[in-house]
């Protein structure tokens, strides 16, 4: 899991969610790229972060793109975040005994049958065991550090701007103590009518 490095975190806010990832791609201790995107838009309001083995990140993103497209065509509508989480889970569990080395993290906003909106985050392990958390989910080489900082900074019902600050500080301070993560970060804050994407400058050592 730490061959290429990288970390992702997602947090829940008040009618909003945020997902952040670092930009480092490495070959063991050697840094290769400071511009490696590991968070991908799945629909207008679902984002997926894929920390782990870079070759599997690329492969899985293409598989998810294919399966989401097939779903959209067959159902004639966009996939809901909960459904997508189960799609991720079953895709990974298909390879139960020869897994993809990724730990997906997803964030999105779902619409309930009554028309209300519900922020959503989830993560799975490399074989697809789902974790629907009510606060935050983390994954990658800096996961322990992310847990520690997030546990100290996060609070319930944060507004989008405060959620952005919280997730950014959590990400930057966690990756600064991790040799395999860092080299800048990207943050997406998803609200019901827009997604704000910001690229953060980070320590380059």
């Amino acid at each position: 899991m730490d061959y290429n490095g990288g970390s992702v975190i997602a947090m829940l806010g008040k009618d909003c969610v945020a997902i952040a990832a670092d930009l480092r791609l490495g070959n063991q201790a050697l840094g290769i790229s400071a511009d490696f995107q590991r968070v991908f838009p799945i629909t207008d309001r679902i984002y997926l972060g894929l920390p782990g083995l870079a070759t599997d990140v690329a492969t899985l993103y293409e598989r998810f793109r294919f399966r989401v497209n097939m779903y959209t065509i067959k159902e004639g509508r966009e996939i809901e975040p909960e459904t997508f989480a189960h799609l991720v889970s079953s895709t990974l569990y298909e390879r139960r005994f020869g897994p993809y080395f990724v730990e997906p993290v997803m964030a999105g906003i779902s619409r309930t049958p009554t028309g209300k909106i519900k922020p959503f985050i989830a993560a799975t392990d490399l074989i697809g065991c789902l974790n629907f958390a009510k606060d935050f989910v983390v994954a990658g080489t800096a996961s322990q550090k992310l847990y520690g900082v997030a546990e100290g900074l996060w609070e319930p019902d944060l507004e989008p701007e405060d959620l952005f600050e919280t997730i950014s500080q959590t990400m930057l301070n966690a990756v600064d103590r991790d040799a395999f993560s860092g080299w800048g970060a990207v943050v997406h804050v998803i609200t019901k009518d827009k997604v704000v994407t910001r690229t953060l400058k980070g320590r380059m050592d």
């Binding site: 550090k145 100290g152 500080q169």
Partner: protein
Amino acid sequence: MVSLAQQQPIQQSFNPYTENGGTILAVSGADFSVIAGDTRQSEGYNIQTRYAPKVFKLTDKAVLAVNGFAADGNMFVKKVKQRLEWYRHAHAKDMPIRSIARLIQTMLYARRFFPYYVYNILGGIEEDGTGAVYSFDPVGSYEREACRAAGAAQSLVQPFLDNQIYFKNQTPAPGTSFPQHLPLQTVLALVIDSFTGATERHIEVGDGLEMYVVLSRGSTALQSLQSIRGVQEITATNDGERVFVIRKELKKD
């Protein structure tokens, strides 16, 4: 029954070390120091006891926190205390904290090839009255710092402290600057938050929290300390430095 001649040699091995979990943490202020540790002692998934202190008062100006292999830790504290007593008999005063730090280095390095399997954090008051924290590795490498976490949840707590104590990745508002030292109340709040956070996410941290506070002569932090419920003074001399301990419960699951 296999005859003796056919028996394969069986390799026996004895591992002299275990890891007993737990976490310690120390922060220094302008004229005080806070040294804290949880009280859980575990071996693997088994909790051996919910109350095993890891933080020890050495003198009225020095407190030592020890984390790692508990048997080595207790033995090491015992030997440091013994050396400090000899110093008292020889010089009729307590050893200064910078000298205790150097003593700990030589004591640890003396065992370079069969080390005490412990991380030490020494907190207290320097001779000039400023708060001090010294942190050590198991073979005696040491450094004076403003704050340090060690042990099972070091990776959870240290980046949080970088952010909240050193203000890493934060920019002060225009025309202002971040304080070099934080007030005691803020430090205690951060220490409690660090341990409740670590307790939430790490199985080896929990049960109880002991926070030692060392105040320098005439420290202004005294008022804010006396307003805290359950604070206990354990000062022994009239040198001016005062030592307090605050005990708190942590989650036991």
